[in-house]
Symmetry: C2
Subunit: 403 residues, 2 copies
Amino acid sequence: MVKAAIMGHGTVGSGVYEVFEMNAEKITRVLGVPVEVKYVLDLRDFSALPYGNKFVTDFSVIENDPEISVVAEVMGGVGAAYEFTKRCLQAGKSVCTSNKELVATRGEELLRIAQAHGVNYMFEASVGGGIPIIRPMLQCLAANEFDEICGILNGTTNYILTQMIHNGVTFEDALKQAQLNGYAEKDPTADIEGHDACRKICILSDLAFGDKFDPDAVSCEGITKITLEDVANADKLGCVIKLLGRSVRCEDGTAYAYVAPHLIHKESPLAAVEDVFNAIMINGNATGEVMFYGKGAGKLATASAVVADMMDCMEHRDHRRRIMWGDGSRCLLRPLDTLQSAWYVRFKGSQKDMEAVLPVESVTEPVDGVVVVKTSKLATADMQKKIQQLNACGKVCAAMRML
Amino acid sequence: MVKAAIMGHGTVGSGVYEVFEMNAEKITRVLGVPVEVKYVLDLRDFSALPYGNKFVTDFSVIENDPEISVVAEVMGGVGAAYEFTKRCLQAGKSVCTSNKELVATRGEELLRIAQAHGVNYMFEASVGGGIPIIRPMLQCLAANEFDEICGILNGTTNYILTQMIHNGVTFEDALKQAQLNGYAEKDPTADIEGHDACRKICILSDLAFGDKFDPDAVSCEGITKITLEDVANADKLGCVIKLLGRSVRCEDGTAYAYVAPHLIHKESPLAAVEDVFNAIMINGNATGEVMFYGKGAGKLATASAVVADMMDCMEHRDHRRRIMWGDGSRCLLRPLDTLQSAWYVRFKGSQKDMEAVLPVESVTEPVDGVVVVKTSKLATADMQKKIQQLNACGKVCAAMRML
């Protein structure tokens, strides 16, 4: 019998308990021994639950119990979650988490503490929910240098964009619908402004390129400015609009990393990713393009990834699994100024002015004084200058990168 | 310095050497020490190569060198490859392979030998080439019971079908094109008759359901009978034709497993998998649908998966990684008779006869005496009887499951 504890009994936390119950037979088969969840830490009153007797409100009960070797941190946030994680690791307990905010901001530090105490800090569930991504990237693709990572990393925004694309619903109405369906929070800022995707692309970039990408330093644009007009224009160009987290390695070992909406061609496998699904495309210099697809959120999907990490810790109790992560001393993040992209531009003004400023690859018939173009490749800094120039003789209503 | 050997210098074998050279820096970064390929075993003369001095023709040189802890078996076949793999494992060397034929037929035995000698037998590259699939399934999805596995597991047939679907090329011409492009062998039987996909679905089923699925016992239908007429009919039904390897778990722990062409809806992420790409969809009872996509073959993609396995063995030299695989004593394969599916049927004969026999869900206008229907769900055995009935009053030209 292996004993474990769960810190936090919200959506994911209760899911972790449920997965241990639901798949007890399978888990015992894999580990060779059954797992007992001995404690659930939460300040709220859950005494009415069938497992109400397992609840504790005092963290030190878990911290001081030598029987507990593995702990799930599914509290969220960076306050108590950070404190408790650190103390668990220092007490010689492995910690597995879905807390992307904590991993993105202090993952490297917590990994170092885990290493110093001969235990594991694992966070498969922090990116892509139930989609296997961190372990495949670090282990199965270990023989590759990574050239690019590009993913639909947020289910809420992908649901909203799917509604806009397929049902002609405006951004505002699609957001309301997402909130009604429980896909978006009351305060949807972290999703729709791209912050959630930003944390995830930072975690993936950290691991792929071997040093710290700070979410606060990474350029981050959400989907609030996207209109049905842009959606329709994208369609005419054979594209759909998707919010991507993307990082691209440069020859010198630095990497661009950013979050922004993109027009992507309908033939791309990423274009077929709809509703709350996520997908992450990784380009390795030997493997080429590999894509991972599935539910990026959801109670049981995310919980099962936390449980799988816990099982891995239980199987390898005597053997710390190595996760490479730089010590945060090198700055690998490269400013976007020199990143070359083709651009979609919607411009209110004269076609002549537009063509004088932009390197046009294709242009649509102006409708009601609005011209839409696809440019040839142009660095971000150049594009920003050209937008200023264009705004002097008209109005750039939208500008997005095309992939 | 860790020392390794490669057995076989064909496409994948030379790729393994190339990946170790090309990504030496990355590999050293991950392992903390460099890797030297000390021997390459091949009977042919490669002395002109820059690394010609590493070639040996005598297996016992590798077998008897205590410096060699990890060996790549990339010879193919089940003769010498089986013999050498067994002897390496018995000599305390881990073996990593892309040899799906050997893994599908004797994987369970070789894993047991590896276990007995405290070493690893790893075969990530045997399914899906460079696509991470075995490790994610066994580790990241370990907390799930698997309900279904369904994949495009053969690049050659997917290339041929893509040509038929998008360019209206006949099967015969598409096969010739695949051979010219090096995607199909001179003798394409193993690909086009589905045997290659069959080995792979057997390996995945073995691992997912915990016991042996024998490729010889698994129902296997290739793509040689598919016509452009079927491709066009599928399109009208909003579908594309794909060759799938599929296994489905039943309540009692047995599982259906088979290879056959299917009509799949264009909205399915599997429908967007084109050319030589592969994709594997796994349905876990907690995670839901997860899909893995990438190049299912190719020198460097497959080789990099072998190298990643070798790196894993090198990192965990003191610690055998557990792969669950039954001992082959239980028969989990369930006959297809009771598998329920909707069917696509192309029938030369009268619509009235067809509608009298089949539970029709939708039917097309007959053209030149040919009727196309989609049935409601029907067990395989019932479908077979109905095909006999129909053949008494006309001709069933094609019958395929729809997903």
